[in-house]
């Protein structure tokens, strides 16, 4: 069988669907705690954040480390992240708040973490819609500009996470550091520094190898 998908792409799709499979499995095996709605909210949210960080990692993996395969899974990772964002959002408004607009408005207006999360959702929505090749062509140069919205959305998602934990913000901060690093990796100065460090390192490695061979 010939496939136009690389092994890395297939692994990405499988990996992205595993959290959903686990969620369904845990539901049928009664492993979603005594508070299943909250468990689903937390798990879909965490998965969305992990996938968003991985999607953000694709470009630097190519530009800094020459890992071109990463570019082939960038869109898929972004769309999977958005898929879990949608599940997370639906869980919140539908299962948790029963589509009660009054309650939802009250919660969103009062809970700044909900407001920030909702803003991130609104920012990611046009990116998901315009992720197709057709939209990419139609928007031309503007497509790239539009998709830089993710640089705003990702930090908002981290803030959303920081604000909802009870007191211990260590884990959200780890995600925050990852996002910050991945955004910094796009700054030309930083890119240049890593690039020259990498070529120096590669050169030394080749030289040492050559010496060993001699």
């Amino acid at each position: 069988m010939t496939s136009k998908f690389t092994k890395f792409q297939i692994a990405t799709h499988i990996g992205s669907l595993i959290p959903l499979a686990l969620l369904i499995w845990d539901y049928f095996n009664d492993h979603l705690t005594a508070n299943p709605i909250q468990a689903v909210t937390f798990r879909t949210g965490k998965t969305a954040l992990v996938l968003l960080v991985l999607a953000l990692a694709c470009t630097p993996l190519n530009t800094l480390f020459g890992f071109r395969e990463a570019l082939k899974v960038r869109r898929a990772l972004g769309l999977y992240a958005f898929f879990y964002v949608c599940l997370h959002f639906l869980t919140f408004i539908w299962l948790d708040y029963g589509l009660d607009l009054g309650l939802i408005f009250d919660a969103v207006a009062k809970k700044r973490y909900a407001l920030v999360g909702f803003t991130a959702f609104l920012l990611l929505l046009p990116l998901a819609i315009t992720s197709t090749k057709g939209w990419q062509k139609r928007l031309g140069k503007n497509w790239k500009v539009l998709h830089r919205l993710v640089y705003v959305a990702a930090p908002l998602v981290v803030v959303h996470y920081v604000w909802l934990v009870k007191a211990d913000i260590r884990q959200p901060l780890v995600f925050g550091a990852a996002v910050l690093l991945l955004l910094l990796a796009r700054v030309p100065l930083f890119k240049g520094a890593v690039g020259s460090w990498r070529s120096r390192w590669l050169e030394r490695w080749r030289r040492e190898k050559a010496e060993q061979g001699a």
Partner: protein, 312 residues
């Protein structure tokens, strides 16, 4: 006390109202993903010994007791783990006996009690209390215990005593969570003396007619049902009468978010989330939270003239 079989006091379907049931159906039919979120009735397990039993099926408002299985497998007990589901397995070998409770400070008769003496010397009674977590979920607990006021009467607080300070066991060997330097262990809590003397303030030794399980604070915990759950300190080893307001662990960890009083109050939100509604464990839709968790009649007078927005 009438013994009702556990199968009758934890109805598996009874508390799902018809509307909630129809809602469940709608959700299930909406697809596997969303179905993953509907509430499934849980079996009530009886882990050895007498099965869990209680003297009534509901609280005084007619709300059904939360199943034993949920009360013992969904626990906020950071000394074991911050993961609510990990508390039960991690606490399985906790040594709740022998256990001593030191009662002292500004009292005429300081005493160290053995847990067995507390069980023997004070008449144990069942009280069905709502338990409302600051995280906006709640349960209905059939506690067994005795009023804190009775213990305080025995040690006789002096006239200088204004507050009661409680402390949890400090033993990182048994409490792995205490190795985490993020929180100022051991857990501590406090009540104003008049709050502590209120008949609702209960020292708990049992749950569902059995000894208190480790994950719920064995062998002795506090239950102050008109306050958020974190006030009801677990595995108590020390009770001190003091003249200054004690600083609780949560006050120290987040002074802007967790106050000394921590009364359940739907009108005063947590700085970051709403306290207007809550999810009763086992139910689908949210319910409105009640002032003082429904105990206003018994405790509201304690706070006459106080600004509850400032004294959160």
């Amino acid at each position: 006390m009438i013994n009702i079989p556990s199968s009758e006091i934890t109805p598996e379907h009874g508390y799902l109202s018809r509307r909630a049931f129809l809602k469940t159906l709608a959700i299930v039919s909406a697809g596997a993903v969303l179905a993953a979120c509907s509430v499934k009735p849980r079996a009530t397990a009886a882990p050895g010994g007498t099965p869990p039993h209680a003297g009534a099926a509901t609280d005084e408002l007619g709300d059904a007791l939360t199943p034993y299985e949920s009360i013992t497998h969904y626990n906020n007990f950071y000394e074991f783990s911050t993961d609510k589901e990990q508390v039960a397995p991690l606490s399985a070998n906790f040594k709740a006996s022998p256990w001593k409770v030191e009662v002292g400070g500004l009292v005429k008769n300081p005493r160290t009690y053995d847990i067995d003496d507390l069980r023997k010397n004070f008449t144990q009674e069942e009280r069905i209390y709502r338990h409302r977590c600051v995280e906006a979920w709640s349960m209905v607990m059939p506690w067994v215990g005795f009023p804190l006021a009775k213990l305080l009467a025995e040690v006789e607080p002096t006239s200088e005593a204004k507050f009661v300070r409680f402390e949890t066991l400090y033993d990182p060997g048994q409490f792995p969570g205490q190795n985490d330097g993020y929180y100022p262990w051991p857990y501590a809590e406090g009540l104003r003396l008049d709050e502590a003397m209120n008949d609702l303030a209960l020292l708990v030794t049992g749950l569902y007619g059995k000894d208190l399980p480790p994950q719920d604070g064995a062998p002795l915990r506090l239950a102050v049902p008109w306050k958020y759950g974190f006030k009801s300190i677990k595995s108590v080893v020390k009770i001190d009468l003091v003249d200054v307001m004690p600083v609780s662990l949560w006050m120290a960890a987040g002074p802007n978010e967790y106050g000394f009083y921590a009364n359940v109050n739907p009108a005063v939100d947590h700085p970051r989330w709403s306290q207007a509604t809550e999810r009763r464990i086992g139910e689908l839709s949210r319910r409105k939270s009640l002032m003082f968790n429904g105990y206003a009649e018994q405790v509201a007078h304690l706070y006459d003239g106080m600004d509850l927005r400032l004294n959160y």
